[in-house]
Structure formats: structure tokens, C-alpha cells
């Protein structure tokens, strides 16, 4: 009986999706006219280089046109990290031995390679989120690359420790700075994340108004958050 109910539910879901997708023409040009935008895609493509002076239109959409949604995404990641930490939180007892994060020693090849790659990965991550408005990538991508670099060190070296307190403070301050910048725009100029200074010229490093500033905050926040998650996960004791 249960099986039939599941089949009926899946059939209803499939029919609903089919109804929706039937309304979208396949392969049709949905961008619209670039000169006189009548559709939202053409509007974004026209406005992001002209009004916002941002070379990467995707960044302009994510941070500027849809900045409030990005705040929601950052909050989701923050809640995921908080939930994980609250489930896996372990009170440190004094007579307890150190939890072994790395159970087998790495070979000297891996250790030397990790030592050389780690600063380069941090540099790449920082480059990706600082140049978010010029080249592909942005805060989330840069933060994920930084977390990958920390992960390499965490699984290679037994005694590599990230300063937990500094990480948590950086994460919280970056999140608060994002909200603070947004609220400043709201109270001073009348809308959340309103550009508070001039947008500069296209292709300059400091251009695009608030976009570089916010992507630096998001990059720091995502990088420290994911590093914390990995650190917590690696310290689980096998029961």
C-alpha cells in the first residue's frame, strides 16, 4: 500500500514539473533586445557594464541586483556551520588525551608539497575574491579555495592548528560587516546595499561600487566557516 502512495506522489510531482517545463520554450532566445531591454536578462547585461561599471555581470547580479538573496545564502551557510558545531560540540576534559586528527603519518613528499602549495592556494583564493567583479569567481569560490588550502594542511600535518577563536571572530565580524554595509545604504540612501560611493571606471581594480568590499567580506566569512567545519569534522572521535 505504501509503495502505491509513493508512486502516486512521484507521478503528481512529475506531472507538475512537466506542466511547468512545457511552458518554457526549448532553445528559444530569451535574452531579448540588448539596446532596449524588455526582459530582465537583457536589462542586467546592459546595466551592469553601463551603470555599475562591472565587467563580470554575474557578480553584478549576485551582489548588487540580488544582494539581499546573497545575504540569505550567507545566513544559510552560517546556520549549517552552527548546527554542525552544536551537534558535534565536545567539552574538553582535562585528563582526556588529544584527539588524533591524522591517524597515519604522511610521506615526506606530501608534507613538502603541502608546505609549498598552501601559500599559493591562499593567494589564489584571495585573488579570486578580490577580483570578483573583473574575472570569474567571487566570494564563495575564493572562500572555498582558501578552505581547501587549510584542509590540505590539516590532513597532512598532525600539529597544524588553526586558531579557533580568531576564526570565529573573523567569521562573525565579516558577516556583521556585510549587514552593516547593507544597513548603511538603507538608512543613508533608502535601499538595502545601495551603492554609497561612485562606481569608478570599467575594468579598474577599485570599481563596481560596493561589490569588491562585499566580496572580500563574503570571502573571509566563507573561508573561515568552511575551515571551521572541516576542523570540527576531523576532530570527531571514532566511537
Amino acid at each position: 500500500m505504501k509503495k502505491y502512495i509513493i508512486f502516486i506522489l512521484i507521478a503528481i510531482l512529475g506531472l507538475t514539473l512537466a506542466q511547468t517545463f512545457k511552458a518554457i520554450p526549448f532553445g528559444a532566445d530569451r535574452r531579448g533586445d540588448l539596446e532596449n531591454p524588455d526582459k530582465v536578462a537583457a536589462y542586467y547585461l546592459k546595466e551592469s557594464p553601463e551603470t555599475l561599471q562591472t565587467a563580470n555581470s554575474i557578480t553584478a547580479i549576485v551582489v548588487n541586483f540580488r544582494g539581499f538573496d546573497t545575504l540569505g545564502e550567507v545566513t544559510v551557510l552560517f546556520l549549517a556551520a552552527t548546527g554542525l558545531a552544536s551537534i558535534l560540540y565536545r567539552k574538553e576534559e582535562e585528563d582526556e588525551e588529544e584527539v588524533e586528527r591524522v591517524r597515519l603519518p604522511s610521506s615526506s613528499l606530501v608534507r613538502t608539497g603541502a608546505k609549498i602549495l598552501f601559500p599559493l592556494m591562499l593567494l589564489l583564493g584571495i585573488y579570486v575574491f578580490v577580483h570578483g567583479h573583473l574575472t570569474p569567481g567571487g566570494g564563495f569560490q575564493g572562500g572555498a579555495i582558501i578552505a581547501t588550502g587549510f584542509l590540505l594542511m590539516l590532513i597532512t600535518y598532525k600539529h597544524f592548528e588553526t586558531n579557533h577563536k580568531v576564526m570565529v571572530w573573523l567569521e562573525s565580524l565579516a558577516g556583521l560587516a556585510f549587514v552593516a554595509v547593507g544597513l548603511y545604504g538603507l538608512f543613508a540612501y533608502g535601499s538595502f546595499l545601495q551603492n554609497t560611493h561612485s562606481v569608478g571606471t570599467l575594468n579598474d581594480l577599485i570599481s563596481g561600487g560596493l561589490i569588491p568590499l562585499i566580496y572580500i567580506f563574503i570571502g573571509i566569512k566563507v573561508g573561515t566557516e568552511l575551515t571551521n567545519i572541516l576542523d570540527i569534522l576531523l576532530k570527531i572521535k571514532k566511537s
Binding site: 579570486v128 569560490q141 572555498a144 584542509l151 590532513i155 569534522l233
Partner: protein
């Protein structure tokens, strides 16, 4: 022509890795197969002119998700348990 051949081979690898990940009983290999899916997907995203998504898929899908699953396997069991009715009743 060479590009199309390359794309077809990549698509076959993608589907094969996905089927392998579902069928494999050894969970470590299954997780590595999902990593391969992410590699192919990120190449596809790049070729479809979505470099932003390609970078995200490469960093999150290949590195972080795979590692988180491997840590989970390290702390639980490596082999998938046999499917049985009793197993469901336990929950």
C-alpha cells in the same frame, strides 16, 4: 569534430561514474566516483561558458564534499549493509 567526440566521451564517463557510485558496495569507491562526476561537470560548465559555476563545482564538489564524505566513512563503516526489512523497522 574533436570537441564533440571529447564531449561524448566525457558524457559517457559522467553517466558511468554515476551508475558506479550507486551500484558500488564499497562506499569509499562510491564517493570517489561522485568526485569524478564533479570533475566532468566542472569541465562541462566551463565549456558551456559558465566559469563562475565551474570554479564553484571544482572547489566544493571535487575537494570539500568528497573529503567530508571520506571523513564520515572513516568514522562509520566502509561497506554498505545489505538491504533487509528488519533494517527499516529499526528506525
Amino acid at each position: 569534430m574533436a570537441l564533440i567526440l571529447f564531449l561524448i566521451v566525457m558524457a559517457i564517463i559522467l553517466i558511468a561514474a554515476a551508475i558506479y557510485a550507486v551500484m558500488q558496495k564499497d562506499l569509499l569507491y562510491a564517493v570517489l566516483a561522485t568526485g569524478i562526476i564533479s570533475v566532468v561537470l566542472s569541465v562541462f560548465f566551463y565549456l558551456l561558458q559558465a566559469p563562475d559555476v565551474a570554479i564553484t563545482e571544482a572547489a566544493i564538489g571535487i575537494a570539500l564534499t568528497t573529503i567530508i564524505f571520506i571523513i564520515t566513512i572513516r568514522n562509520t563503516s566502509r561497506n554498505e549493509e545489505e538491504y533487509s526489512e528488519d533494517h527499516i523497522k529499526k528506525f
